[in-house]
């Protein structure tokens, strides 16, 4: 027996569920397939979400028991050498009141489940514990449904939305997107460290319910092109550190070793002191950038979220691009159902929707950012140490005249960096952001 639906969605992450919500709101019957035992079972994320994009799907999310951990009121950026670091931070009262839930932290296991429940309540069908193993096609190659790993597991649909994330063998099998090359993905590890709520409030100097995010660059990634973050949850901290997969392969560094070093850094150690490690996970991130976005639609199918490589590395925005692209895909599908035309040309609208939104704007704007980091390894190797040396010298009071210190600092910097290299770094950096 073959069931017939309007839309089959692969993946119950932010992209797939957003699409399911929009479709269900418009009375279209959609079925979402999730390989995990429940949505979120297979998901990890540093856990920052954006209220603006969630509100487009669930306007009153904060009144609907959305499992928010902390409302972010302060953002810190660290640039770390081996033994020290610079910190810049910005906190604003607006984020506690008018702009509350502009950014907030969630645990993805809880959030994805809640989000999927919202979709179910609207009438979408979320089928868990089921892997989509292939797509069904007609003799012209048009996608006509999905094949799952269950007995009697084929399901016909007018259109299929691939929202299966970055790490899905389906993409390679269908040939819609290439297996990402190592330099186009980052490997990240995450550890959740339990701490009492009051201790987190104190250590981050925040009132209860509010939180801080820290984004970290420097030699902390053992000379590899990568980033680390610390996010506050209600009763835990998420520590995440990752680097380009190609770098891992050449440097032969183990991700968990890098995490252990990170945990002992003098800037990080006091924040996590006494905490109990609760979870540890590893995951891929899309880092391909604008040039490597695959074709996001074709006869009978669309691709949204990470699966389509829609990820902004610099602003660690992935879930919001997933939500917005999922919603755009759904709107495109709604139009297609009205026209009863699911061909490539009918679905082309999806691309225009993306082009007219912040998604393509931002991805284009930052398309030089990843190459910038890749071409300037000194950002992760010698520069943090030279910068650390500079600050340490200037701050050490030892009777040396400041002018002499500055000379010493400049000499130290020039030891590893030619003047032209420094100028290029500044120019490339300026152009990339």
């Amino acid at each position: 027996m073959q069931e017939k639906y309007d839309v089959a969605i692969v993946g119950a992450g932010p992209a797939g569920i957003s699409a399911a919500c929009v479709l269900a709101d418009n009375g279209i019957n959609a079925v979402v397939f999730e390989r995990g035992e429940f949505p979120g079972a297979k998901n990890i994320s540093g856990g920052v979400l954006y209220g603006h994009d969630l509100a487009r799907i669930i306007p009153d999310f904060s009144q609907k028991n959305c499992p928010i951990e902390r409302n972010i009121v302060e953002s810190r950026i660290w640039y770390l050498s081996r033994d020290g670091g610079y910190s810049v931070s910005y906190r604003d009262k607006a984020f506690e009141s008018q702009r509350r839930y502009n950014v907030f932290t969630v645990g993805r296991a809880k959030f994805d489940r809640w989000f999927a429940d919202q979709a179910s309540q609207k009438g979408a069908l979320v089928v868990c514990g089921t892997v989509v193993t292939d797509l069904l096609r007609d003799e012209n190659g048009r996608v006509t449904g999905v094949r799952t790993d269950r007995p009697d597991g084929d399901l016909n649909a007018k259109v299929v939305l691939l929202a299966d994330g970055i790490n899905s063998p389906l993409a390679a099998k269908t040939g819609f997107r290439q297996e990402p090359s190592p330099s186009h993905v980052a490997l990240a590890v995450k550890e959740v460290i339990d701490l009492p709520e009051e201790v987190i409030d104190q250590r981050f100097n925040i009132s209860s319910g509010n939180g801080v995010t820290i984004e970290i660059l420097g030699s902390i990634t053992s000379g590899m092109n990568g980033v680390a973050v610390i996010y506050t949850n209600r009763k835990s901290l998420s520590l995440c550190i990752g680097a380009n997969l190609a770098d891992f392969a050449t440097k032969k560094i183990k991700p968990y070793e890098m995490l252990e070093i990170f945990k002992t850094h003098p800037m990080a150690a006091p924040l996590i002191k006494g905490g109990k490690p609760a979870e540890y996970m590893a995951h891929w991130l899309a880092e391909a950038g604008f040039e490597n976005i695959p074709k996001l639609y074709g006869n009978g199918y669309l691709i949204a979220g990470d699966s389509g490589m829609l990820f902004n590395t610099l602003h660690r925005e992935g879930s919001n691009m997933a939500m917005v692209s999922g919603a755009f895909a759904a709107q495109t599908i709604i139009d297609a159902i009205r026209k009863n035309d699911f061909s490539r040309s009918s679905l082309k609208n999806y691309e225009s929707r993306l082009q007219n939104s912040f998604i393509f704007d931002d991805l284009k704007k930052y398309r030089r950012f990843n190459p910038f980091l890749a071409h300037h390894p000194e950002i992760f190797t010698s520069l943090p140490e030279a910068m650390g040396f500079a600050a340490r010298e200037m701050l050490t009071v030892d009777g040396t005249p400041k002018k002499k210190k500055q000379k010493k600092i400049w000499k130290n910097l020039r030891k590893n960096h030619s003047l032209s290299a420094l100028l290029r770094l500044m120019w490339d950096g300026y152009r990339s952001v």
Binding site: E3, P151, D152
Partner: protein
């Protein structure tokens, strides 16, 4: 045949730990699952239906969230489900639980007479193995516990023959229907739900019966009907390994030492039930 399965939603005890300081179960963040023995009961019921025809009704007593295990049962091929849910049922021990389930079975039997009730041999959260026998006793059904295989069922002559696990062996028992079976894991390997029935289960309604619906006496259900008190929960001491004999350069000596220790232990042979005529279990081997 009208078959009824009794299910329980339990915390996944594979993940539950005991807090060493307070000696209580740490349940926070633990997933709820269908008791694995009950899953076998469902599978067995579906197989009997496939052979003999009939209808399967599945019941569970629990909070509204327990409807998820009833949906799981639907996806595996049962016909009807009932959730027994009422604030008055909360805090039930095995006495009150078996009363509540028995009352529901009586009500279900009013529509179609019941031939068989299948329960898991025990629930993995309490491991008491009392609820099934409690139901059988109240309903005066044949009670067949620890069933590892069903040899045959004869609905016309109202007979069933099963194998049940007993200490040190297997016992073959012939009984009358209606019967209540509590089942072992090896009885039947659960199947994977097909896609159409999984989808159907997500859409199926789950009827809820409260205390009134099953005409239960208020003082016999929930905490009021439960005389059991848990005084203390503790972890058993970890097992100590026995002595070790190093073979080294003189394996013969090590073997001799080992045998000496074994022979000097007077309980050694009786543990293995090899003591001949004195032990009645021997006939079974």
């Amino acid at each position: 045949m009208h078959i009824i399965c009794c299910l329980k939603q339990v915390p996944d005890t594979a993940q539950v730990k005991i807090d060493p300081e307070t000696n209580t179960l740490v349940r926070a963040g633990i997933e709820s699952i269908l008791n694995p023995f009950d899953l076998v009961a469902i599978e067995q019921a579906v197989r009997i239906k496939e052979n003999h025809g009939g209808t399967i009704t599945v019941i569970t007593m629990g909070p509204p969230q327990a409807s998820s295990i009833l949906r799981q049962a639907i996806s595996l091929g049962v016909d009807d489900v009932v959730l027994l849910s009422d604030r008055a049922f909360a805090g039930a021990d095995t006495l009150a639980t078996s009363y509540t389930l028995a009352m529901a079975i009586i009500k279900l039997g009013n529509n179609i007479p019941v031939d068989l009730v299948l329960c898991g041999k025990q629930a993995i959260d309490g491991d008491t193995a009392q609820t099934g026998p409690g139901i059988a006793t109240r309903l005066k059904y044949t009670q067949l516990t620890y069933v590892s295989s069903i040899q045959w069922i004869d609905p016309e002559n109202r007979k069933i023959q099963v194998e049940r696990k007993v200490d040190g062996g297997v016992e073959t028992v012939l009984g009358d229907l209606p019967a209540l079976l509590t089942v072992e894991l090896e009885l039947a390997k659960p199947r994977r739900a097909s896609l159409p029935s999984l989808i159907a289960s997500l859409k199926a309604p789950v009827p809820i019966w409260d205390a009134k619906a099953i005409e239960a006496v208020e003082t016999l259900v929930g905490i009021k009907g439960s005389p059991t008190w848990v005084r203390k929960i503790s972890s058993p001491a970890p097992r100590q390994g026995g002595p070790k004999f190093r073979a080294g350069t003189d394996p013969d000596k090590a073997v001799a030492q080992c045998l000496e220790v074994l022979f000097s232990d007077s309980t050694f042979f009786s543990n293995f039930k090899l003591t001949g005529g004195r032990n009645s279990d021997v006939e079974k081997f």
